[in-house]
């Protein structure tokens, strides 16, 4: 489906959800819950908190969806704005207690077999630990782009920033993560090939 077709389809879905149609609400939940969960997991590092906060985000969405208006911001940006604010509130308390949120064994990872599960868990743990050291804006862009799967435009709307700014932040974040995760600054020298 073309991007315009997808946007139109989502608009119909959101409008139906705003009218209270159960199937539309359920569909929105199906579409966005995993993404909201991953976003919150990327921001908090705690799968149990991600489960609870994700559910909370949808309850808040339910309370506010009637007032949602199709302006320039897409629905996804609006929803992840709610998620972002939920994470901020959560981190205020977590930070106040000085409590860390290590990755838990309770995290479900798509894996084939126990060995791959361990490998995936270690990989995610490494990413999470590195991302914790990023400045807030970079961490948010990484979470929105790679965990939640938002486009740059959606990410920009969710953060209240310009797209150009988000691209700059994204570049810096990826470069910094790569550096922190111990990869060499330059990989193998690319030998240009004629196309």
């Amino acid at each position: 489906m073309s991007p315009n077709g997808e946007a139109h389809g989502e608009r119909l879905l959101v409008d139906a959800a705003r009218a209270g149609e159960e199937h539309a609400l359920s569909e929105l939940y199906t579409l966005y819950f995993p993404r909201v969960y991953r976003y919150i997991l990327a921001r908090t590092g705690n799968p149990y908190d991600a489960e609870d906060l994700a559910e909370e985000v949808f309850m808040r969405m339910l309370e506010a969806i009637e007032r949602f208006q199709w302006r320039e911001a897409p629905f996804s940006a609006w929803l992840f704005r709610i998620a972002h604010n939920a994470v901020i509130s959560y981190r205020r308390k977590d930070g106040a207690r000085g409590r860390a949120s290590p990755l838990s064994d309770g995290l479900a990872l798509d894996s084939q077999g126990p060995d791959e599960l361990v490998e995936n868990r270690l990989a995610l743990n490494e990413v999470m630990l590195a991302a914790e050291k990023l400045p807030e804006a970079q961490r948010q862009v990484i979470a929105l782009r790679f965990a939640a799967g938002l486009s740059v435009a959606e990410t920009a709307r969710a953060m209240g920033k310009g797209e150009g700014n988000v691209k700059v932040i994204q570049h810096k974040a990826i470069a910094r993560l790569r550096e922190m995760m111990g990869q060499p600054k330059r990989a193998k020298v690319y030998e240009g090939k004629k196309v």
Binding site: R38, N85, K93, I174
Partner: protein, 296 residues
């Protein structure tokens, strides 16, 4: 200019990669002059995406959450339908007028009086219909009167967000509300009433938990903890699993209530526009000022 062009190219390649339209090698071949800089970033991005996308919520969590979400939506729809019927029956002046005129005036409209009198008799006049349950015939075992609670809760939330002192009277209202509902058998409540009560308890718990994290003003922390503990007891009675709550060891301050980790998100009140919405500072852990969380 060169840096800007690179970031544009990087994003173009990333978007294609994340959407599955192009591999890293294909992107590098499209931009050979930038390949040395692009390759490590694109590979790092591919790893990031792969790692994050493997993390999924447990299926039972998804379905449990969906049930609660749809149940809450249905309760809201039913409550709203009840509001619509009652308002149509009571006329344009609402309940406050009938409360002032008295039962004699209410009896003049037989159909409206059945529903309105039940509400007046249970919790006083002048109440908004929202949150009071449908005005069906027959007395309900408990009718939710959330107006006072809502007002007090909004004051607490506002104080928490601004770091302002907690009004003692509002805390007393919250405390009285909690003690009242602790004495009620939740099985006597209708579905929509119970859902509204559960939501109120959840919100109250989150707000109070937030207040326990250091609160200036005349209200001593012990009192807030006491109400928080009562709220937790009420939540247990309702079978509520409070968000983020885990029986972690108490803080060195030695409070009796286990440290909660709620996710307080005050009800969003407005739709954020892309430009006028005051964006929270992305560089710090600032209190969200987005209108989506401002009380009405």
């Amino acid at each position: 200019m060169k840096a800007r062009r690179f970031e544009e190219v990087l994003e173009e390649c990333l978007a294609a990669q994340l959407e599955g339209r192009r591999t890293v090698e294909e992107s590098l071949s499209l931009y050979p002059s930038l390949a040395c800089e692009l390759e490590p970033l694109l590979r790092a991005a591919a790893s990031l995406s792969d790692v994050y996308q493997r993390a999924s919520p447990p299926p039972y969590i998804v379905e449990l959450g969906r049930e609660r979400f749809l149940a809450a939506a249905a309760a809201r729809a039913r409550a709203r339908a009840g509001v619509g019927r009652a308002r149509h029956q009571s006329g344009p002046w609402g309940l406050r007028l009938w409360g002032a005129v008295g039962a004699a005036a209410a009896a003049a409209l037989a159909a409206a009086a059945v529903g309105i009198a039940a509400l007046i008799g249970s919790g006083g006049g002048g109440e908004e219909m929202a949150g009071s349950g449908p005005p069906d015939t027959g007395p309900a075992p408990a009718v939710l009167n959330l107006n006072d609670w809502q007002q007090a809760h909004e004051h607490l939330k506002d104080a928490a967000q601004r770091g302002a002192p907690i009004p003692q009277a509002d805390l007393e209202t919250i405390k009285a509300f909690t003690e009242k509902w602790k004495g009620v058998d939740p099985t006597t409540l209708r579905d929509e009433e119970r859902l509204e009560l559960e939501q109120a308890v959840r919100q109250q718990y989150e707000t109070l938990a937030g207040l326990t994290a250091g609160q200036p003003g005349p209200v001593p922390p012990d009192e807030i903890f006491s109400v928080l503990g009562s709220t937790k007891e009420l939540a247990d009675k309702l079978g509520l699993q409070l968000p983020g709550f885990s029986p972690a060891p108490a803080s060195p301050g030695g409070t009796a209530t286990p440290e909660p980790q709620p996710s307080p998100s005050p009800p969003p009140e407005a739709t954020p526009g892309p430009a006028p919405t005051p964006a929270p500072s992305p560089e710090g852990e600032s209190v969200p000022t987005d209108p989506i969380f401002q009380p009405s």
